[in-house]
């Protein structure tokens, strides 16, 4: 009986598909007050006065808070963000006041009465404008901000919140050795996570000092730490409880509403207060995914061997940094794409603008990075007159090569990019573009991705295993179920290790920081690896304990015993055995006396050998391993109207080992769908005054069910990562990473011109064709 490698349904699936699953905002406990955010209507302005008196007088209102009531700065890396604006507002939608009332209706009605008097400041509307000489400063106090989680290198008296670098080899040498050079300029807008469940938080401060937090977070332990730190509490006083989360995509790794809900509860004598984002608030007040402007220059020999890469990235972090400096380092770490380049110079700047602030987004910077690097590889192929697949094959990074951060790769840490590329090329067979009608063409595009975790070097995970009297097992880990199936994967690993059926493993769908072991954060596609390692250790621990009790019962040495199928048995003679339920809660002799006791298996994992990146050279060890893959699309395009559609999308990825093959495929397919959305339609829009234009799903377009390609193809290559559970590599984010690059490649083939800006709308293609005509 094997549990690993089986396509099992997710444990929570029956409740989800029948509507019985409970999410954080679904029910409001009796006596809970509601808080509503009063957002800024300006993108950049000096606050002269916030008049809350009329709102306070409204029926049902209990308290109204402003920045005056919240004297703290928040920020995961750099503490630059007041939870409620103080003195200045820096983006349209920024929380200025918080109205707390008996019910949502009263709170919303009163929120409309808060009068915000402010004087507009000059707007910084783009990263280019932000880094121009004499640009208005968004954070004049930048130099004074506390660095909560170095490395971060702010440039005081500029809008540059951080500068991350790679300096490897000697670019001058690389240029000298190059016969051809190509360069490209690329833009990717800020994007929205658009999780189905909007963010929410509920906080109650009990009179015994405990702080109960219920939220939609991906990072319950981070919430716990931050609240304890910010409000001078003992960490154990703060209890964070997280039910199933309805999609996160990185957006729920940021801590925002929890702090506001805490402030609200504190202002009303600790009564429970909840804050539930409307869709508009979720899109314009809570953080989005960063935008990016990239300049990439590659040099290569005549036969296509890369010699040098120089890259500059301006990351649009909006008004505050949140995790963007970490994203910048993740981009630096993999800045060359999965190619062998000895001479690398990379500068990634985290740039403030008067846009909604940004936080992690599925892929942690890798989808914009992949777009920039893969578009440039296609340019190089075109310049050399070489097949883009051939150019990639020639330059693929491999075991024995070093990454931009000088990490030496092995087959285990890298996987097999060559097989991924070859299989994807075979699946995508056909000319780059071929006519299918008088004014329609079919075109193909391919792109590669790679990614490591870029997680903190001391990230930890833990697992606890306990037994029920009937021998079934309870498993507790610190990962949040955001829809990725992580709990089920952990259950499969435990079942495999104990030799039992997955149905015999019972999981906690909620996370509670008081009872569940800490898991760093449910991000970076690291749950299977980290929690999996902890689960394996917990299983071993439980098995050792089972054997030591069974050894007494069976009058043998623990080393003579094995565990499986609900029994502890003599390895040499399986007929001699006791059941797990006989020994898991103490073994009773026939006379009734007992030995042993309750068996609790514990396991933990801490990242090994990871290091922070050096500030000057970027040298370091950013993650335990890589996931590599190749993606391709076929599109049908009308050359008369420029309308097009992705008809087929494919991914070949080195999964290491698929613990739940159907789950892995679904995850990758969902990623592809998201990637096609990012390629073709998504992007946060602002008007000339920095006002957010598309803060609703009516105007911020995501892929609908009826707009899917005719076929999604997923192929898994399995090169085990030796130190991962059963060899499984990270897969959670990867389905989307190269999709925008692949779509851009296909569209570029279709129209005969490079497409370098996202999203690729028919109008953008029409504009391209017009400017080409005008240039002629």
């Amino acid at each position: 009986m094997h549990a690993v490698g089986q396509s099992v349904a997710r444990k929570e699936a029956p409740n989800k598909v029948t509507g019985r699953a409970r999410y954080n905002g679904d029910a409001t406990p009796v006596g809970t007050l509601t808080a509503v955010i009063v957002p800024s209507r300006h993108a950049h302005a000096r606050l002269r006065q916030v008049d809350v008196a009329p709102a306070r007088r409204m029926p049902g209102v209990v308290a109204v808070l402003t920045g005056q009531d919240a004297d703290l700065l928040c920020g995961e890396v750099l503490e630059d963000r007041p939870p409620l604006a103080r003195g200045t507002v820096r983006y349209h939608g920024e929380p200025v006041a918080l109205v707390i009332a008996h019910g949502e209706a009263e709170a919303r009605a009163a929120a409309r009465r808060v009068a915000i008097d402010c004087a507009p400041l000059p707007l910084v509307a783009s990263v280019e404008a932000a880094v121009a000489p004499d640009a208005p400063l968004i954070h004049p106090e930048l130099g004074a901000y506390k660095r909560a989680q170095p490395p971060v290198v702010p440039k005081p008296r500029t809008n540059i919140a951080d500068h991350a670098k790679i300096r490897r080899g000697d670019p001058a040498e690389g240029w000298a050795a190059s016969d051809v050079t190509v360069s490209g300029h690329y833009t990717v807008p800020q994007v929205d996570h658009a999780a189905m469940e909007t963010r929410s938080a509920r906080v109650e401060i009990l009179h015994d000092g405990r702080v109960i937090v219920q939220s939609t977070t991906q990072a319950p332990f981070e919430v716990q730490k931050l609240l304890a730190q910010s409000f001078h509490l003992q960490q154990g006083q703060v209890i964070v409880d997280v039910p199933l989360v309805g999609g996160a995509f990185g957006g729920k790794a940021a801590v925002q509403l929890e702090v506001l809900a805490y402030l609200a509860s504190r202002a009303v004598n600790g009564r429970p207060v909840q804050l539930v984002n409307s869709r508009e608030e979720d899109m314009a007040t809570s953080p989005v995914g960063m935008g990016l402007v990239a300049d990439v220059k590659l040099g290569a020999t005549r036969d296509g061997l890369l010699q040098v890469a120089e890259l500059t990235f301006l990351l649009d972090t909006g008004a505050y940094t949140d995790s963007t400096p970490r994203v910048a380092r993740a981009i630096c770490s993999e800045c060359t794409g999965p190619y062998r380049v000895e001479n690398v110079r990379c500068d990634a700047y985290t740039v403030y603008t008067n846009h909604t602030y940004a936080t992690a987004f599925r892929g942690f910077g890798h989808f914009p990075l992949t777009f920039a690097i893969e578009r440039t590889m296609d340019r190089l192929a075109a310049t050399l007159g070489m097949d883009p697949v051939e150019l990639r094959r020639k330059n693929l990074i491999g075991p024995g090569d070093r990454t931009p951060t000088r990490m030496m790769l092995t087959r285990s840490t890298l996987g097999d990019p060559r097989t991924c590329l070859d299989r994807a090329a075979a699946l995508l067979a056909g000319p780059p573009v071929q006519p299918t009608g008088p004014h329609t063409v079919r075109a193909r595009g391919l792109a590669l991705f790679w990614k490591t975790s870029s997680s903190p070097p001391n990230a930890i995970s833990g697992a606890l295993v306990s037994f029920n009297q009937d021998g079934s097992v309870n498993l507790s880990t610190g990962t949040v179920e955001v829809g990725a199936g992580t709990k089920t994967t952990s259950a499969q690993i435990l079942a495999e290790q104990l030799g039992i059926d997955v149905d015999q493993v019972h999981i906690h769908t909620h996370i509670n920081t008081k009872v569940d072991p800490e898991h760093w954060k449910t991000v970076a596609s690291m749950s299977t690896f980290m929690a999996g390692r902890a689960v394996m250790e917990a299983a071993e621990d439980a098995k050792a304990q089972l054997k030591s009790v069974a050894a007494i019962a069976l009058k043998c040495a623990p080393g003579d015993l094995s565990v499986g199928q609900g029994r502890v048995f003599l390895t040499a003679d399986p007929n001699v055995s006791v059941t797990v339920s006989d020994v898991a809660h103490g073994y009773s002799y026939p006379g009734g006396d007992a030995v042993g006791g309750q068996i609790i298996g514990r396991g933990s994992y801490i990242m090994r050998h990871l290091t922070l990146l050096d500030e000057e050279t970027g040298e370091g060890h950013p993650g335990p391993s890589f996931t590599v893959g190749a993606q391709g699309v076929e599109i049908d395009l009308d050359t008369r109207t420029w309308q097009y559609r992705v008809v087929r999308a494919l991914t070949v990825v080195d999964a290491g080992r698929a613990i739940n093959p159907a789950g892995a495929r679904a995850m990758l397919q969902g990623g592809m769908c998201m990637g096609i959305g990012l390629a073709t339609r998504e992007g946060v829009l602002y008007d000339r005054d920095g006002q957010r234009l598309n803060n609703q799903l009516r105007t911020y377009k995501v892929m609908r069910a009826g707009e899917q390609p005719d076929a999604y193809v997923v192929e898994l290559v399995e090169t085990p990562q030796i130190d991962a559970p059963f060899g499984a590599r990270a897969l959670g984010e990867h389905g989307l990473l190269a999709m925008p690059a692949a779509v851009a490649a296909a569209v570029s083939h279709a129209i005969g011109r490079p497409v370098d800006h996202l999203p690729i709308t028919p109008e953008s293609l029409w504009q391209l064709s017009r400017s080409a005509e005008a240039a002629r």
Binding site: E104, A105, E106, A107, R108, A109, R112, E280, R640, T641, Q643, T680, R681, L685, L693, N694, T699, K701, R704, G706, E707, T761, P762, E763, W766, Q767
Partner: protein
Amino acid sequence: MIPTDFSYWRPETAEEAVAVHQQLADDGQHPVYYAGGTEVVTRTRLGQLTPGAVIDVKAIPEARRLGRDGGRWHVGAALSLADLIHDGSWPLLARVAERVADHTTRSHITLGGNLAGTIAYREAALPFWLADADVATVGPHGRRTARFHDRFDGTLALDPGELVVSLSVPDGVRQQPSYAQKATRLDYVDYPLVTIAALRGAEGQVHVALSGLKPEPFRSAALDAALIGSGSSADRAERAARHLPVTLVQDLHGTGDYRRFVAQTVLADALTALEGH
């Protein structure tokens, strides 16, 4: 959520609805008719509308009529677009309606709401604008049936409190050759860059009405005239496109210039589809 209270009324005749409307308006209640409610609810939630009372018009039988009578085909204003698609007896109307909003929303949006609402695309108006339609209303000054043409120029000219009860077209119009197409920024479900409805008359001449170019629907006799004559569809579409409004809508869905390009394309497509060349 809607944070303010309002009263709810459900009259059973058009006259009663109008009387209630007048009474509530006199009381300073800022009443609105409530048909599918999609616009009333979404605008009220955002604070763009603060009605003190809503008057549900879906219980008025004549606003839900559907069928032939006296050589004309009548359709009640309180029928949903999904009802009209399901009926399908006027293919042009069904095709246009099918591309308004998404399935869930279409099951709520009514014909009357689409014609009289604030969101000004009013795509369902296009077929009526091309046919020899009548519109029946009840207002503070009583009942009135008028030619749709005379009351609609992209916006339906209603008196305060006037209620659209039904529309009608000559029965035969429904069998006339017609064409409809909606062009969006990219998505299947979206507001239009350009929606075209075209109807071919008995003598073969093609008439068109367009939504998405101006804030409200657009028609032009000069444009229709330019569609007649010799030349390929593309040539005539290009000539006709000169009669489009000088400035076109420019928003997050698309620029005015692009809309002009798209309009010309759909005009050519309409001619090709209806004339075969």
